[in-house]
Symmetry: C2
Subunit: 448 residues, 2 copies
């Protein structure tokens, strides 16, 4: 019997299990599927933890999720086409839900398709290698006895699907003066509760989603001021009073941050929103994806199959406009490669396909073109499998509108409503604005 390991039970891993389960329910022989999850519950990043640094077993904490996080894109852009928000909540809900609502939604589909049966929790994978003679992957997993004693075991698999995400291992640069700064310096990976910074003057380094969202959130929960230093270009939003963008940090001198434009500012804490590393130390070097964060990492056929050994697959390793739906589309492709429903491509075919996509990606030079590029990538995936279709052009249009909305009002864009690409229903306008609503609970959200 074919054995397939799925590593991780977050959005990607759950998408993969769901994809297999759909095939099984339709009568396919899917072989044996085993999902190994390091945490004690499913949901990946969306399974919020207060822990930072190392977990209760001395392992790096997976989560980078923080309290009061709200979706920064319309939920309609990540809606499962086979499990809509309307189906899950029984009625239309606003377009920008907080974490707990999205967690409930992801887990809702996983419960409906009953994929928990495939998951072994508290089972971190410690090693993945390929046995050329046996033509199998050797997967070493750690578990713990009730006594606390740890046990390592190694199992053979015909396929391995890596679904561990790439927003867990922080990229942490150093600047002169960090070692003498009298306050907290943290990476956004360790950011948990904006309330910690109430009344504080905050320095944020970065110019991508984390910088944008943590700046806004810190201000919303009472920070005195936020200075955001960028290396390449300012985000340039029409920031509310209290948030300022400045050029790159040169160094810290005590409390004082000095920037490359010669200005300076006293700050109480520094948040490094400097991104994440694709980090898979448990995977043998010759199987290990090594890439910067971009829309088409090299070495992955259809963005999924490891070209050097395509029975190894990676999900969700792209930089992301599309998220859950892209993971679904990838998971269906991965499943159909495993099941032989898609032909095994030759190395030449894979190389040519990857080269064509990377050529196309090299010509992308604006945000709008990035959106188009990833839309076409998802469209390509969707032609390959029976993943239920949805109005991809509407999603593309939502992304474009959303970018404009952000330019118009960075504090107000989360109050808009979008139409579902699956059902066409339009979320209601919430009764309180995102900016004025401190309560991010599911209960409160459903009342708004």
């Amino acid at each position: 019997m074919t054995r397939t390991a799925v590593i991780g039970a977050g959005p990607c891993g759950l998408a993969q299990l769901h994809a297999f389960e759909q095939a099984r329910l339709a009568g396919a022989d899917i072989g044996e599927i085993v999902c190994f999850e390091k945490q004690s519950d499913w949901g990946g990043l969306w399974n919020y933890t207060w822990r930072t640094g190392l977990d209760e077993r001395g392992d790096p904490v997976h989560g980078s999720m923080y309290r009061y996080l709200w979706s920064n894109g319309p939920k309609e852009c990540l809606e499962f086409s086979d499990y809509t928000f309307d189906e899950h909540f029984g009625r239309p809900i606003p377009s920008f839900p907080p974490r707990e609502v999205l967690y409930d939604y992801i887990v809702g589909r996983a419960k409906k398709s009953d994929v928990r049966q495939y998951i072994q929790f508290e089972s971190p994978v410690r090693a993945v290698s390929f046995d050329g003679a046996a033509q199998t992957f050797e997967v070493t997993v750690q578990t713990w006895e009730p006594s606390g004693d740890s046990v390592l075991r190694t199992e053979s698999f015909d396929h391995v699907i890596v679904a561990t995400g790439h927003f867990s291992t922080p990229n942490v640069p150093e600047y002169p003066g960090f070692d003498r700064f009298p306050g907290r310096i943290l990476h956004s990976h360790d950011f948990r509760d904006a309330a910690e910074f109430t009344g504080k003057d905050l320095l944020i380094l970065g110019s991508s989603y984390s910088a944008e969202d943590i700046a806004l959130q810190a201000l919303k929960y009472g920070a005195a001021s936020i200075t955001v230093a960028y290396r390449t270009a300012a985000m340039g939003f029409d920031w509310p009073d209290g948030i300022t963008e400045v050029p790159a940090l040169r160094h810290l001198e005590g409390h004082t941050a000095h920037f490359t434009d010669g200005t300076s500012r006293d700050v109480d804490a520094v948040v490094l929103c400097t991104g994440y590393l694709h980090h898979f130390p448990f995977i043998d070097a010759e199987l290990r994806l090594s890439t910067p964060n971009n829309l088409y990492p090299d070495g992955l056929y259809k963005g999924v199959a490891w070209t050097a050994n395509p029975r190894l697959m990676y999900l969700g390793m792209q930089d992301q406009y599309y998220t859950f739906t892209m993971f679904d589309a990838q998971a269906f492709v991965a499943r159909d490669l495993v099941l032989g429903r898609l032909p095994s491509p030759s190395p030449q075919e894979m190389a040519a396909d990857v080269a064509a996509w990377r050529d196309r990606y090299a010509r992308v030079d604006s945000i709008m073109e990035q959106i188009d590029f990833q839309t076409e990538y998802v469209r390509d995936l969707m032609t390959l499998t029976d993943y239920p279709s949805f109005d991809l052009d509407l999603v593309r249009q939502h992304f474009v509108e959303w970018e404009h909305d952000k330019d118009e009002s960075i504090t107000g864009y989360r109050d808009k409503s979008f139409a579902s690409p699956c059902t066409g229903s339009v979320g209601p306008t919430p009764s309180t604005t995102w900016w004025d609503e401190p309560d991010d609970s599911l209960a409160r959200f459903l009342q708004r």
Copy 2:
């Protein structure tokens, strides 16, 4: 040629290299010694880093050191008998130095004995196993090319000495309400700068050295209040205004901490001073020390040699009154076992010796008896090798006096002076008290 691997270049690893180098300078054939160090410089914990959580390569940060840390015991109790403080600084200095001074001292001896030649920096050990057929240890080390590409290589060794310390992997318990607490929750491993807590109401969980020192330090640098919750017994010092001990935490409810005596208190941040795990995930299970923190871990002959395979040794794995001198005494024993100067004990001899020490330890039931126990342990080690003798009874007496001093004044005990067990010289009384001296630099310390 005999090959010996030393893992770690902190106080224990440097003591080991120093011990070997002393033998080599005296004409011994010490074989090949290779020290693998994860960090980019030596000194272990004493090599302060501002980083927390994961380092620049996604590895757990080794350091638990924080700014403004001063020795919490008299320096005379940790003085190298072959490299005195008087020799290093050229004159007597006060008895309680801050981190930078101790770092300078440790590194001073390492420079004098020129042991840097043995150390490979930025070389974390990823695996240690034993090849029964070849009777060698296989040590897998990771390094990085200038391009950033990582390389794993495996080398064979006749002996392995683990000197990685056991104050790096935090023991992090969870209490109800942690996931909803609106502020920072950190383990003392991630505590870096007390200035972060100026004006804050702090909750500290624990009743050992970290709790004691972080409570005092937080108050010294301006925290509004510190509540220390103990599980078993209060530390019971005559705390300055602003520090209160209470029974164990039951749960948090928002900002409010509820204790088992029914009292409650609003707090802004929580520091878990809940200790560390002996954590050696890179060592094969059958070679791996697994122990709670105590004065005589099971399975180590003379507290050093892994009884199941005594060519593997561990340094400094005990709970510690004695530190640098105990590491030295252990390192000399480890060296002489490697060099065959000490006879290889039979499994029966080792078992009997360990059992005798553990029996004796089981009867220890006070702090004074703990001090006596570890004094006798160090004395036993010192009878075995040519480690230069020092006045061990004086050190024991210092520890006893120091415990009394702390009971007398927890803020004042660091202003006392003690006589060197090596030179007899007595450190001068500093011109400012520890409590009133915010500057912990070496330069300032030498002026006081």
